[in-house]
Subunit: 318 residues, 2 copies
């Protein structure tokens, strides 16, 4: 795999880099940064003693710091890889340790709330440049990460008004070095885009899995047995980290409720088409939606293999 990332740098991009929170995303950054030698010194820290111990076992990071403040001390860049709801608390913890000119970034799935929670804690001369890598799997924790997670994925950088251009350039450079493509947008627009491409899809996946679990007429064992008909795809998304997703919905409330309102309106129209037997309305929608998948595959954001290539290795035999 590391071949896809390219060779290590001769000169690091960042002198001292601190990653706080070593879950799926944090540990993937740590792996990519180590492999590519993007930092002179990589400091890692996690609030959980078990995770800190595991970091030692995995050999992730040059230094495993006991506290967030210790990790941030003297760092040129600090990346908060904690749930969105914890960013403000961690910012308060590290504020006193940050050196002038340091960049503080994050990886949260919501950006407006992160800016609002983090910015007030940061001393003057420290640059806040939030980012969101649109990548992940349904697995969590320091063992779930991998160095190519961001390869050929978008990372959205959302500098607040008046952000330092050099700090933005360093942040962009770090993501590009890890194989990501970077798009710059405002925190507010980010939150609207992600509400429809990620947050509402997660919400309805969690919801239908919950609905199915609560039925009396159909047993849970039947739901599980016959899930290959479509349901099982939703269970993957509904297996994502509960804390992270709770925070997403609590902190991106307005955009999620706006997009959910539209989803509900459209669903009501489909429900009505079914009730009245309007086959043309159903057929038209079902035809229109095929084109979108084609575009996603063409853009390299998805595999064209049937069934996500789940059955790779099976040939098609006449």
């Amino acid at each position: 795999m590391p071949d896809r990332l390219g060779p290590p740098r001769s000169e690091p991009l960042i002198g001292r880099l601190a990653i706080i929170g070593l879950g799926l995303i944090g540990s993937s950054i740590a792996r990519a940064v180590s492999h590519l030698k993007l930092a002179g010194t990589l400091v890692v820290s996690d609030a959980s003693p078990d995770v800190r111990r595991r970091l030692g076992e995995l050999g992730l990071g040059d230094v495993v710091a006991d506290t967030a403040a210790e990790a941030a001390a003297g760092a040129d860049m600090v990346i908060l890889c904690v749930p969105v709801g914890a960013c403000g608390t961690v910012a308060a913890e590290i504020a006193g340790a940050l050196k002038p000119g340091a960049i503080v970034s994050d990886v949260g799935s919501v950006k407006g709330a992160v800016v609002a929670a983090v910015a007030p804690h940061l001393p003057a001369g420290v640059h806040l440049v939030p980012a969101h890598p649109v990548a992940g799997t349904e697995h969590s924790g320091p063992d779930a990460g991998f160095a190519t997670l961001f390869h050929n994925r978008w990372s959205i950088v959302t500098p607040p008004d008046g952000a330092d251009p050099d700090a933005v350039a360093v942040t962009r450079g770090l993501w590009e070095a890890m194989g990501a493509m970077v798009e710059i947008m405002t925190p507010q627009h980010h939150d609207l885009v992600l509400a429809i491409t990620s947050h509402v899809p997660h919400l309805i996946a969690y919801n239908i899995v919950g609905t199915a679990a609560d039925l009396e007429t159909v047993t849970q064992s039947e739901v599980i047995k016959f899930s290959a008909g479509g349901f099982r795809d939703f269970t993957r998304i509904a297996a994502s980290d509960p804390t992270m997703w709770r925070d997403v919905f609590l902190t991106n409330k307005d955009a999620v409720l706006e997009m959910l309102g539209r989803f509900n309106e459209d669903l009501a129209a489909l429900q009505r088409a079914i009730r009245w037997g309007d086959g043309d309305a159903l057929f038209d929608l079902f035809t229109r939606t095929r084109a979108i998948r084609r575009s996603i595959i063409d853009l390299g954001q998805e595999t064209a293999a049937p069934d996500f290539g789940r059955r790779q290795g099976e040939s098609k035999d006449g």
Copy 2:
């Protein structure tokens, strides 16, 4: 691949087998039956001249018949692999050609409506034994099929009241020979189970892809670019065959509307939890849903690889 299916039979299960409709499912049955020599003679037919020509090119079937009636003439078993809404029409076409003792089956995703549409056309002495293999991909047509599609998947057989036990046994035997596991249930119960495990998931996937396509505040190009956040999983399902799915919703209306009603109620509760900031309610649901995926993986109905194994071949490098 054919290794997984086991060796060909020395004696066929069925003398003359006719498959009518050679899309994803029909052509997968044809491939499995040919490879395993499950039929003495395999007759295939499709309403589309283009598909019939393609069957010749692919070498699918011993005989390519021009009409459904011609295919059914003299067959010991006829499997209708056409959209649910077409089953009644095809049954009427073949009724006069069916020989006494023949079994008529199908593969539709709705069973009550198929029994209602097909049974009235069948002459006395012909046995109706509907079936539904819970397997598929988002691809359609005779080129999309493969012989192992049913391997380790469930096929639900739904004999109407008073069905001939021998005919049910032959139908069960055919599916088991193709690697499927068979469950017997009433057509009505089948339709309820599939409404929640397949039909409503498809409907909400089609719906959210449609909602996203219609937004003004977020461009279609943004939806496509940032789809890796969750949305792209839904586009796979929303790329399924429009005709087949139109018919599913028109013919399983009552069960779909019932399950959709429950989905909507639950979603309204989630929406309220978001609006009022009830993080505990969100966290509880998001934790509960993880267990269901675990069960599906344990039952062999899903891969445990992260992200469906989309990035197979990448190792995890520390």
